[in-house]
Amino acid sequence: MLTRFVFDYARYVLKGGTKFYAWMGTLALLIVGMFYVFYLQNTEGLIVTGMTSQIHDGLYLANLVFLVGVAAGAVTIVFPAYVYHHEGMHKVTVLGEMLAISAVIMVMVFVFAHMGRPDRLWHMVPPWGIYSFSSMLGWDVLVLNGYLILNFVVGFWYLYSKYTGKPVNPKIFMPLVYISIVWALSIHTVTAFLIAVNPARPMWFHSMMPIRFITTAFAAGPALIIIAFLIIRNNTKMWIEDSAIKLLTTIVIWCLGLAIFLTLSEIVIELYARTEHANSLYYLMFGLHGLTALVPWFWSSVVLMVGAFALFMTPKFRNDMKLLPIPCAMAFVGIWIEKGMGLIVPGFIPSPIGEVTEYYPTFVEWVMTLGIWAFGFFILTILLKGAIGILLGEVRFGGAAPAASAAAVH
């Protein structure tokens, strides 16, 4: 039965029109680029990137941190669905879980990308390697893998039950769902700890980091989900109810507002006292010693986030499903900058001995980053398409494969 499931699932996913194959083909091309630069990085070394001994993490860690947030953001669907029994949300919970799976996989590929010796990753896996409980990175790897497994089990068990028509055993299923909700918070909290526990980097060393990570995650995550839902609604037979999208919009607005408030608080506190510990923030906002590479990044992020918030506040944008993707995309990109280039990179500037240097991502890094995002969307497309097929009942056990019906995604 399980093999039938895999077979039917694969057959459904593989069926698609030109649009589908053009999309997947483009992604595949970008993935090839990713493999090539990965090869470069592991023969030439990370010297092909813009990273140095001063600024030894950049675009990769930035994307990693951001995508952990997107993965955690899936809980904004799961929580209302299972805890508040939100009707519209409950029907599409599994789509959120599919997003979480793709995002965590992207995170893991970014881990590979930023490492000097990915060939030695097994050193952190017992019994061959050593697991260090004192290392936040160790904990991060643990919770991320746990989250991946949880979402895989919960998501595919649900799909499998839809496929076979046999309901899930709630005595085991529901506890797993509740664990996954708390676990979602843990992955982003630990990621915040990962950088915040370093007093060597004053910009990161404050206890506001975890809550700031959670609020930005619960703004960026659902913003992406809203866009994905609207695409699904307009391009497939799957209908996602307005009530679900509206609830997600509310979550985005609240969390985006909180995120802006936290950023403002940080700016006031740091720049009022203006100690040496504020140098990183000052560099980010205005530049330091004449070096200003991140200034445009910061201000564009401010414009995007505040602009998105203002648009969300306008009922015309909030309620019009055609206009809604605009503030969503703005919030998503704004947070991507704030949490990525605007947080990871300035943490290294100035260095602990006061040296101010700059970081410019190289072409290799952009190809890698684009490739990993393409890889994530490749997986996401497969997962969403299969899940939609099952939710629509087009893929089900014993049911003749609906050859006549057009593929879910054209």
Binding site: T52, S135, P352
Partner: protein
């Protein structure tokens, strides 16, 4: 398993030797968990590979920490003249990468050149903030003695310069090293005699330790280190100055290859003014112990509770 592979590697033909040795190296354990036999094997393996690669007889020492020894360091900042001979000696002794590209040049010691700065009478009336009605401070100074903000690549005609002071820094060999705490594979650790070391073969290059170090003591091998055969120092220690590989982190280890055999670190030996002192903190008669007992000493960023075993003093 690894012992079998090691033997196989050593028995193989010279042509295949390098590949076989690297293969066996790839599967060796974390150095600290190796048995004495496995350590000896790892050593033989490396000696064979290095001797081939650098066309000379290379020795890899595996001498353990000696009982009753806790290494300590003291630096007289009043004496330092900023000549940077220590930087050069360190690079030569410890087989650092010395290529032309920025990422290929690695130095473990920085001598920070600090502006002396001054307070001047003609600036007395400049307020802070300038041009606004209410002033909350003054501006009668040029930056003087700013904490750790200095240049370490400077080329004056002669040292010491009149308008500068010098502050050499390197790994502080902390008693509570934040870098060790964050390492996910426990490849970096504090040895029993004090120095914080790295098993380069176990390092995964995640760079967490670099983010955690408050003294910017760690360097990343962005590419295969550039180490010309003729310049390579063949007297090495496994945890010390043996040649590193691409993608791993390295740092000062107080010249284990020397200090475990009663010699001074290269920087101490080369210092022309005797600003650098090194010795056993547990021996009350050692120079370092005497300095701690009699001089005003301080540690960098003491508020971080890292408890460096590297002290600054002045007489």
């Amino acid at each position: 398993m690894s012992s079998l592979m090691g033997t196989a590697a050593l028995m193989a033909q010279p042509g295949e030797a390098k590949a076989a040795v690297e293969w066996a190296e790839h599967f060796q354990k974390n150095y600290r968990l190796m048995t004495p036999e496995e350590k000896a094997e790892a050593r033989t393996r490396l000696e064979k590979r290095y001797s081939g690669e650098y066309s000379k007889k290379v020795s890899v020492d595996i001498t353990e920490a000696q009982p009753g020894v806790l290494m300590g360091y003291a630096l007289n900042i009043r004496k330092c003249i900023g000549c940077r001979r220590c930087v050069k000696a360190c690079v030569e002794e410890n087989n650092q990468s010395r290529g032309a590209r920025a990422g290929e040049r690695i130095e473990w010691i920085q001598v920070l050149r600090m502006e002396r700065g001054e307070f001047t009478a003609d600036k007395m009336n400049q307020g802070y903030p300038e041009g606004l009605g209410i002033q909350v401070g003054g501006n009668a100074y040029s930056p003087a003695g700013q904490v750790l903000e200095g240049q370490y690549q400077y080329t004056p005609e002669a040292v010491p310069e009149k308008d500068a002071t010098y502050m050499p820094i390197a790994c502080m060999q902390c008693e509570k090293p934040p870098c060790v705490k964050v390492c996910p594979v426990r490849t970096t650790y504090r040895e029993a005699d004090g120095p914080v070391v790295i098993d380069y073969n176990w390092c995964i290059g995640c760079k967490m330790c670099m983010g955690a170090c408050p003294y910017w003591a760690r360097r990343f091998n962005l590419t295969t280190p550039v180490l010309p055969k003729e310049d390579m120092n063949p007297v090495t220690h496994y945890l010390g100055n043996r040649p590193r590989m691409r993608g791993v982190v390295e740092k000062c280890h107080w010249c284990l290859q020397r200090t475990r055999h009663g010699r001074y670190p290269a920087c101490v030996e080369v210092c022309p003014v005797g600003a650098r002192k090194f010795g056993n903190l547990l021996d009350p008669e050692s120079e370092v112990s005497k300095i701690l007992a009699r001089k005003n000493v301080f540690r960098l960023k003491a508020e971080l509770n890292t408890f460096p075993k590297f002290f600054y003093f002045y007489d």
